[in-house]
């Protein structure tokens, strides 16, 4: 390795890494730009060459994200998500607390299968509309949607970026793994989280009969403006979902499934349009893919790849291994690792974006397993998976700890601000942090009693 100025590679990598993450945390600059600059410095400083930099990028994650974003960009045009939100509000006779519960449920279920940011972009506007018509404050609704987008996203491999990363980077973990091992606890967390929201706001919510009638007068079927597109989208979404459930165990990677689905839906959506028309439509669809997120991932992968390359993660991993010094059996080691990983991830993900955190944790935990094995304490595959489930639960649920914990939180805050009812950082923290701790406590109990006893 030919490092710039003959400096120690571990040091220079560490400096680039810390600087990159520190600047991302300040949120003064676009995070994708900062991550790409960090990645660029890794190559220019001689830590990476272009080839090794590209090897660090997990194309499975990138393909899965891009594919799903493309599918959603087309599907949302047909208006089905707005239909769903309004239909569910009318099912509870437009009573405010009923609507909050229904929209929370819709948010949780949608974010299990769609990106969280996309979900809140679809549901938050409907909530604003409904609360305005009901003449009640939107905050409890938006607050609940932030929480439940992160809670719902925890349930599946494609629901939340930390899970996408774990599913892509860890061998032996697939779509069904999340369904069987992480998803089962999500409904309980959902229900328990609703409790405090009811006590804080729900029991006092009141709207006039007249206001509720206005919501009941909504003609939700009008929201669906393209029935043909609705059918095509639902067809492709079903295929993709089946692909994840049956294809992944059979060796089809998530990126293959998502990108093939995206290509198929692009094809169906453009069928019958002139070539010029198609160019414009395809251009617009790709324009809706969140490239900031995609490039953020790419930059982070290069930066973290640099850490791996110089062996910096070995140091970090050996610190983690030290934690388990007192343990005598691999079962005890698994317990310590799982609980430590879950709580550290939860607290860290509340403070920093959980994507860069998990991107660093995954190779660190992998190295920890290798070091443990080298010292005669090899964890079984099942024991390793328990640690991965803990990382997923900690990082995803931790995103609820503060307004900066996850991208979806900031998106909703931006909405609220534009609508004239801003969500304050400290107010949100006061309400959300205790609820986050509660959800992680439930997750801890679940992991402990299901896998560690």
């Amino acid at each position: 390795m030919d490092v710039i100025f003959g400096m120690d590679p571990v040091w220079i990598t560490g400096i680039i890494f810390v600087l990159t993450y520190a600047v991302i945390m300040t949120e003064k600059f676009n995070r994708a730009v900062v991550a790409l600059l960090g990645g660029g410095f890794m190559v220019l400083a001689g830590i990476h060459n272009q080839e090794t930099a590209l090897e660090g990028i997990d194309w499975n994650t990138i393909g899965l994200l891009t594919g799903m974003m493309t599918i959603v960009a087309i599907t949302r045009k047909c208006g089905v998500f707005q239909f769903l939100a309004i239909w569910s509000a009318k099912k509870v006779k437009a009573r405010p607390w009923g609507i909050l519960v229904m929209l929370s449920l819709v948010t949780a279920v949608l974010s299990a299968f769609l990106d969280n940011v996309t979900t809140v972009l679809l549901i938050a506007p409907v909530s604003l509309l409904i609360t305005e018509e009901l003449e009640i404050p939107p905050y409890p609704f938006l607050f609940a949607q932030i929480l439940f987008s992160n809670i719902g996203g925890t349930a599946t491999l494609i629901g939340d970026p930390p899970n996408i990363l774990i599913g892509s980077l860890v061998k032996g973990i697939d779509f069904n793994g999340f369904l069987m091992h992480v998803a089962p606890i999500v409904p309980l967390i959902f229900l328990v989280t609703l409790g405090p929201i009811y006590l804080l706001w729900g029991r006092k919510m009141k709207a006039s009969e007249e206001a509720m009638q206005r919501v009941m007068d909504f003609r939700e079927l009008e929201a669906i403006n393209d029935v043909a597109l609705l059918k095509k989208s639902m067809f492709v979404l079903t295929l993709v979902l089946l692909g994840f459930i049956f294809g992944h165990p059979a060796g089809l990677e998530p990126a293959t499934i998502a990108m093939s689905g995206a290509a198929l839906l692009l094809f169906l959506d453009n069928l019958g349009h002139s070539p010029e028309d198609q160019s414009e439509r395809v251009h617009n669809t790709f324009g809706e893919v969140e490239w900031v997120t995609i490039f953020f991932f790419i930059g982070l992968f290069v930066v973290v790849g640099g850490l791996e390359r110089v062996g910096a993660l070995e140091h970090l991993a050996s610190k983690v291994v030290k934690l388990t010094d007192g343990a005598e059996t691999t079962a005890e080691i698994t317990t310590i690792l799982s609980l430590a990983v879950m709580w550290v991830s939860a607290i860290a993900s509340a403070v920093v974006d959980n994507i860069p955190f998990v991107a660093t944790m995954i190779p660190t935990i992998k190295t920890t397993f290798v070091q443990l094995a080298a010292s005669g304490n090899e964890l079984s595959l099942e024991q390793q998976k328990t640690v991965w489930w803990s990382l997923s639960l900690g990082a995803c649920l931790g995103g609820n700890g503060s307004l900066v914990g996850a991208s979806a939180n900031l998106i909703v805050a931006g909405f609220a601000e534009r609508a004239g009812s801003p969500i304050r950082f400290l107010t949100f923290l006061k309400h959300a942090f205790p609820l986050m701790l509660m959800s992680v406590a439930i997750a801890t109990g679940y992991i402990y009693f299901r896998y560690l006893t």
Binding site: L121, P125, V126, L128, E132, E220, A419
Partner: protein, 149 residues
């Protein structure tokens, strides 16, 4: 030729603390699309545009970025429109002014005035460069009149 030669001096204005209702009445009485809003010294504060009124008549999400632009499922009648406006009617008009608009000065050359009208699609306030006070207004009709002279 400069702006001063074609502008209408001493235009109709609204004081910034007058209620929204007054500004709306001026638009209606004169069939204006916008009216300049000034402070007690006659300095320009902003333009009250008919679009600001229309925006108040629909749910907020309809006019927000990433909102629901078409609202296909909402069915309003005039009572709904009046209800949305009723809370706002007594608020000072300065809350609803547009602050991004094109101004011209008495000595602005004619071409710049025409281009200003072309881009702004409405009357341009003529502001004294030194005092910031509104001294006149120039409309596309002022230009058309000159052409037909």
């Amino acid at each position: 030729m400069t702006c001063a030669e074609i502008m209408t001096p001493d235009p109709i204005t609204v004081l910034e603390n007058e209620p929204l209702e007054n500004a709306v009445a001026i638009l209606r009485d004169n069939r204006y699309r916008s009216v300049p809003v000034v402070d007690s010294q006659g300095k320009m504060v902003g333009q009250f545009e008919i679009h600001a009124l229309l925006r108040l008549l629909v749910p907020k999400v309809a006019t927000m970025r990433f909102g629901i632009p078409r609202l296909p499922f909402v069915t309003d009648d005039t009572d709904d429109l009046k209800r949305r406006l009723s809370d706002q009617y007594t608020k000072p008009v300065k809350r609803f002014v547009e602050t991004e608009y094109i101004i011209v000065h008495p000595d602005t050359p004619l071409t710049r005035v025409v281009l200003g009208l072309y881009h702004y699609h409405d009357n341009l306030p003529v502001v004294d460069s030194e005092s910031g006070r509104l001294v006149g207004i120039v409309s596309y009709w002022d230009i058309v009149e000159r052409l037909l002279d």
